[in-house]
Symmetry: C2
Subunit: 418 residues, 2 copies
């Protein structure tokens, strides 16, 4: 390959290649570089192998303007990044007294003394500049290799991310002098992939300046547009994104519920707070998932009163005023019990809204009449109620996630229409 890249990434760690750990760096780095106007062309994941990494660094510096290497800076013998980068660039390692002092004082701040093996962490390829690590013992470093800026950073995200933000990104901003890559996320709920895709495909050809991606999550489908490589003005791109949003609104109505990283539970929270309304929840199969999502939002205590997760029939009767007769006659997984749960929790907590779920998450517990995945979700308010049901597919976790968001959407729909 002889493409010239803005940036390349090398992630080092046997645990990534063996599947012991799911990488989180690329998602962060890709987003952070995009905000800096830099497009990574390649990311390579490799084990703790000195020779291999050295060869990769050698190849990489000839075809990229920036190279970010993550991991392998710890004190043990498996940590080979210092040596590999030095080998790759043909520079010897040199001991840096100043960096060693910083490592010692970091240990001292924890009431500890570094061991001799930690001395390795003060070794850097000749010509490198240490990058201070305020959250761990391993300093990073940067080095200019014939016009390619090489950065080596430690693996733990809580160490790497602050070092990227404080040191690497400002350096890249100064070198590339580019505006952020324009990107916008359009979030939808309550519409499936197969229904949405053909609707979107009709609009997409009119927006040649954008790349489109669809992301599926339990809450729905996100449509991400981002600027194709080129020289468009930000103002123009913003206008075009607004136009796309307007078209989406016409087609989807309230099913297109927010832009950006705003979650459905945040939108629901804002609507509740704005209307000075309150919410209480009664969950069966979702086991606290809706309450967890609602309370993920800071400041939720203004509108979120309580969530009763009632697994046992007794607790449904005792706390939610579900009638023993209804449980006996229709079973816990039924429209009647779902409605009683929503009403019971609303009245008990004196809330504006009562939201409820009951169903069979699986893998066991299904029958012919009530198969695994059958879920009821209901909403109660002063003077009315609405209960829906669906048989969700997927494993236990997916069923639970989906019914949680179906219930939240039921509330959202009422809030946004009322």
């Amino acid at each position: 390959m002889n493409m010239r890249n803005d940036a390349e990434i090398i992630l080092i760690g046997n645990e990534l290649l063996k599947g012991d750990r799911r990488d989180s760096h690329l998602k962060y780095l890709g987003g952070a570089l995009g905000r800096t106007g830099v497009r990574p062309g390649l990311c390579q994941v490799v084990g703790d192998e000195r020779e291999r990494v050295a060869a990769m660094v050698r190849d990489s510096v000839d075809r990229t303007r920036a190279l970010i290497i993550c991991g392998g800076l710890g004190p043990t013998e498996d940590d080979i990044t210092r040596e590999a980068v030095a080998d790759g660039l043909g520079e010897p390692l040199e001991f840096d007294e100043e960096a060693w002092e910083i490592i010692r004082s970091y240990f001292a701040s924890l009431g500890l003394t570094p061991s001799d093996t930690n001395r390795r962490q003060a070794l850097f390829p000749r010509g490198a500049t240490p990058i201070n690590n305020t959250n761990g013992t391993a300093p990073g470093f940067s080095i200019d290799a014939n016009g390619c800026l090489v950065f080596a950073l430690p693996g733990p995200p809580h160490e790497l991310i602050p070092m990227m933000e404080a040191d690497v990104l400002p350096r890249l901003r100064a070198v590339f002098r580019r505006p952020p890559i324009f990107t916008e996320t359009f979030r939808t709920a309550a519409i499936g992939e197969s229904t949405l895709a053909p609707l979107i495909e009709e609009i997409v050809p009119r927006y040649a300046e954008f790349e489109f991606a669809s992301l599926f999550s339990p809450s729905g489908v996100d449509i991400i547009v981002s600027e194709r490589e080129g020289t468009q003005q930000r103002e123009h791109l913003e206008e075009r994104a607004t136009a796309f949003g307007n078209e989406l609104k016409k087609i989807l109505g309230h099913k297109y519920y927010a832009n950006g990283n705003i979650s459905l539970e945040e939108v629901v929270g804002k609507l509740l707070a704005g209307k000075e309304m309150t919410l209480s929840i009664a969950e069966s199969l979702t086991g606290g998932l809706i309450g967890k999502r609602i309370s993920d939002v800071p400041g939720c205590s203004r509108y979120f009163l309580a969530d009763v997760v009632s697994y046992s029939n007794e607790s449904k009767v005792e706390v939610l005023n579900v009638s023993p007769e209804a449980l006996e006659r229709y079973g816990a997984v039924s429209e009647v019990v779902c409605a009683q749960m929503a009403k019971g929790v609303r009245e008990r907590m004196n809330a504006t809204w009562g939201l409820s779920t009951t169903g069979i998450a699986g893998p066991g517990g299904g029958s012919k009449e009530k198969p695994v995945g059958l879920c009821y979700y209901g909403l109660s308010w002063d003077g009315g109620e609405e209960v829906q049901h669906r048989t969700f597919r997927g494993g236990r976790d997916i069923v639970r996630e989906r019914v949680a968001y179906a219930a939240l959407y039921l509330l959202y729909k009422r809030l946004v229409k009322g």
Copy 2:
């Protein structure tokens, strides 16, 4: 690089490099290959660029015995994997009537007709064998390139994983004829990284046959050992892993709580079920997180009665019998209220154990006496109670995850000792 690899992986998709989506394939593929005795040497993540991918395929087939390519098999013009592999191997694309029939019948099963653009999905490099996709429209394919087995698979995990299991892994098993790479996970809780690391470092040198990795999660630290490349007998490795586990037990006691992928909530669930005990929970800042974890375990309805998430003071009084005086005098975030919550939910639900949390998740709501991160977690049983508190660090999510597991550990400790 002229290393000979068992396997290499190429992940294709602009959304991965731009950080729009967090990759999940490598974790699955690394684990699946390991179970097949195959060690991946390199994973490359690249955008939807035909020339670049073609060059990567060309380089890769000369240095690896198996190459797995994921993504880029959809019907749109951005889907370049078919063309790139054909270019890379110097083969033309040919239309496969049989594959086209399968695609048509897949659409028919959904009540749909494929469009002309879908015809692209029946194009394969000459000499390739289609791989059937029972969960989507895009067939995969395999092709033997001078002794390197190349597999191309669609990106969505629910399509890729069944195709790996049904087709790719059996083929690799037949070619490599290797036993699974031995690996074992030792799970610990309630001990921090900085305390655990030096304890482990003393044992590790005696287990030269293993590679060690530590993974940190909200529930604690996992120690993963896996077989170094070599020719050790499985029996020997199992013995050594048992010996390591025994040493760990001596050092950590109950803090080492399980092997494998068994979670702390599963261990707690088994202990409760075995003792025929029941649990009810009262959560404040954790907002349903503990209930969610407990109900993640299939069959939990045997011991999990209810979870009351009480955000408002009124609901603490109304449902949990917390005394208004205690709320007034000590505040909701206090040892007294935490103890009353645990006792209240236990008595109300007639459970063996009542577990409770209250605290300040942040970012707002802190004060000098009660800083953000201050959390109480308590346990109540017939005739006793235990309340602990700690000030957790990290953001809102991390604080909530940590106190949830601290509370679960409190219960676990009582169950395992009693």
